[in-house]
């Protein structure tokens, strides 16, 4: 972690701390206050978007650990999310299990499912591994449609009641927002802690050169599987949140297309950075929301109404695609790299970066 000049640790505790400076604390508290008070002034539109953003964020942060830190290509994150959603749904529906049981169970089931496909990572890399994880999408959908109806409902899916915790029902958008916010914050905090740990450094070493990592004593098989396990665990938690938000779980919801979007968010935000995953998710979600809301508005403006909604919406989606392409061309290290440059430039001002 780069720090402003003059800021240095005098004790191990300080060195290990995630938040080092007073300014960082102020920013963090400001952000937390903003997020907690958002429903007071945000309106239903913002809260609805935020719910999906927070759920997506958990899945993308998991993907960052798997892809960005572990270096293992994963195009099955949506399927792992689906496993979590089905697990949480089935446990809630059939066993009336409380959320503090369903949530970790969803994560663990998804993680185990993810690890199965992670085993392939020991033998194959790159495109081959990508294909293996795509298989996860199909295996997941097929399994959910074929496993006994009493378990996961087959084609009927699972219909859930609102989740409750200590008698408090999460049955409105605002209540689900607070649930998703707390879970997302915990998961992000956990991810930041993980990547700064021995495990995190091992994942990075395996990513950078697995032969070298093995020579210096890391169990490559273990760490490659672990990166899938952790990434899928995050997806499982995201899936459980999704199940509790929508209250309906069907395999069709967790498509390959969603996995591709998640990877796109990582590319735009920046690989190998938790902050990158956050920035990527927020930016892509903002662009998606922009299209969703700006589109209908544009179609109602005088002369543009004659152009036709299909042209306007299609153009906007092309714009979104172009934005991603431009990022890949001009800033392949993602927005987080740009953010780091801005931060460094500010710190060493008036000297040039």
């Amino acid at each position: 972690m780069t720090l402003p000049a003059g800021v240095y640790a005098e004790a191990y505790d300080q060195d290990e701390a995630l938040i080092r400076t007073r300014l960082q604390w102020i920013w963090l508290l400001g952000l937390l206050i903003f997020l907690v008070t958002l429903p007071l002034y945000g309106g239903a539109k913002i809260i609805g978007s935020m719910n999906v953003t927070l759920i997506t964020l958990v899945a993308v942060v998991g993907l960052q650990i798997n892809v960005g830190y572990g270096g293992q290509v994963n195009l099955g994150q949506s399927a792992f999310m689906g496993v979590g959603a089905y697990t949480a749904g089935a446990l809630s529906l059939h066993l009336h299990a409380p959320i503090y049981v369903t949530l970790p169970a969803a994560g663990i089931c998804a993680a185990l499912f993810g690890s199965l496909f992670g085993l392939a990572a020991v033998r194959v890399k790159g495109f081959y591994l990508a294909l293996t994880t795509i298989a996860a999408q199909y295996v997941f959908a097929f399994a959910m449609l074929k496993l006994p109806k009493q378990w996961f409902g087959q084609i009927e899916g699972l219909r859930l009641n609102p989740v409750s915790f200590l008698g408090f029902d999460f049955d409105t958008d605002v209540r689900v927002y607070y649930l998703a916010l707390v879970i997302a914050l915990v998961m992000i905090y956990g991810a930041w802690g993980l990547i700064r740990s021995r495990t995190g450094r091992a994942l990075v070493s395996v990513r950078d050169n697995d032969n070298a990592a093995e020579i210096i004593g890391f169990n490559v098989f273990y760490y490659k599987s672990l990166s899938f396990f952790i990434g899928a665990f995050y997806a499982g938690i995201a899936g459980a949140l999704w199940a509790y938000y929508i209250r309906y779980v069907l395999s069709d919801m967790f498509s390959l297309w969603l996995s591709v979007w998640y990877l796109g968010m990582l590319i735009v935000g920046g690989m190998g950075s938790i902050l990158g995953a956050i920035i990527g998710t927020v930016i892509i979600r903002l662009l998606q929301e922009f299209i969703t809301y700006f589109g209908p508005w544009v179609t109602e403006i005088g002369i543009l109404s004659d152009v036709g909604a299909e042209i306007i919406f299609s153009s906007m989606n092309m714009l979104l695609g172009c934005v991603i392409i431009l990022f890949v061309i001009f800033e392949p290290r993602g927005l987080v790299h740009r953010w780091n440059i801005i931060k460094e430039s500010y710190r060493i001002w008036p000297f040039p970066h």
């Binding site: 913002i46 809260i47 609805g48 049955d171 929508i246 929301e289 299209i291 969703t292 179609t299």
Partner: protein, 413 residues
Amino acid sequence: MKKQIATLFASIFCCVLLVAVQVRGEIIEYKIPVISDFTGSWAQLFKAWIPMQKAVFEWWNDTEGKKLGLKLDLKHYDGRYDSSVIASMWPGILSECKPIMALGGGGADVAALQQRLSKDEVPVFYGTASYGYGWLPDQWLFQVRPLYAQEWIAALLWYIQKHPEKKPLKIAFLSCQIAAALDIVNGFEKYTNDVLRPQGLAEIVAKEFTDTNPVDVSSQVKKIIDAKADIVMGVVTSAMSSAYIRACELHGVNIPTLASPHHTIWASGKAMKTFAPFEGHIVVAAHAPVTDLNHKSYAFFQMLVDKYGLDKNLYNPYTMMALNQSILALRAVEHAVKRVGRDKLSGRAVYEAMFAAPFTEAELMYTLPTLEFTRDAPFCNKDLKVMIETVQDGKYTVADPNWVPVPADIKKW
């Protein structure tokens, strides 16, 4: 004198202006959200839906709406046929439009919204047929057509009646492993095994699955030929339909398919620029046939073309769904106004009106049969009727000019 006349005219003018302003002020406007798909997997379909929805709403605003002092404006949202997009934007739609109802697009919004609509109190109307897994009580989703399986069973019985020499009719399935397609197969299979086979009317001889949009199904069709199937069911996409026709040509056979109008003959025939390969195939739907231009529903369509600038080529199975969806939704609003009055119109009022009285064929401009909704299903499950179309001498035409009844003994599966 001149001054007095001028004053008189000025007074009259002011009075007219006042009355006009008052009348205008009495019109209550509602925004009706339409969950569309401009950029997802059904974008091509919605391209045809939207002008139809627009024309029907404009006509209604000019006629019934004016009488009731209501104006319903459509507002399109791009749901991209993606549950996550729809779930994300729905709270915003609620706060922005405060809708008394909405027009839905299909399965993705059903999945995203069905659990919350009763709390949001917004009935959502759909133009497609229904699925067995959606056959649930107290739903706020309303579908203009019954289950696909119900429609297909009615057509199959009609087909058996027309071909008594083929008893028991050998049925083969060619379908795909998505939830919607499997639902139709399951429903149909149950009815065949429970009712048709014991009576010696029909039996299932083959079940083949392929991709949703396959390139080649010749090996599956070979198995169907080997099973000596008389009819093929379960084709649910135009790509599957086209691949099936190519496979039939390859094997030199023509085993007819039975499907929905938007799945096979019309969709693939238009792409192939001929209906001839579908000779003898049949399609079925619980709405007016698009091939019968003497049908009363066509007169309504023609009026929309003449007065509201609708493209005259838009009378087809795609747009029929949008027409049906719009007309039922609008009549539901009328029923609600009759029950609670214009000022107390709400989502719940529209919902309650759905069960209060049947929607007659005349009310529905003859595009649909009379519909009577009950709380045990999101579709009309009483006195169901379908229309059957086919290809005869290369021409897409009505197979039976009369409504064909759907058997009432179809149970949930």
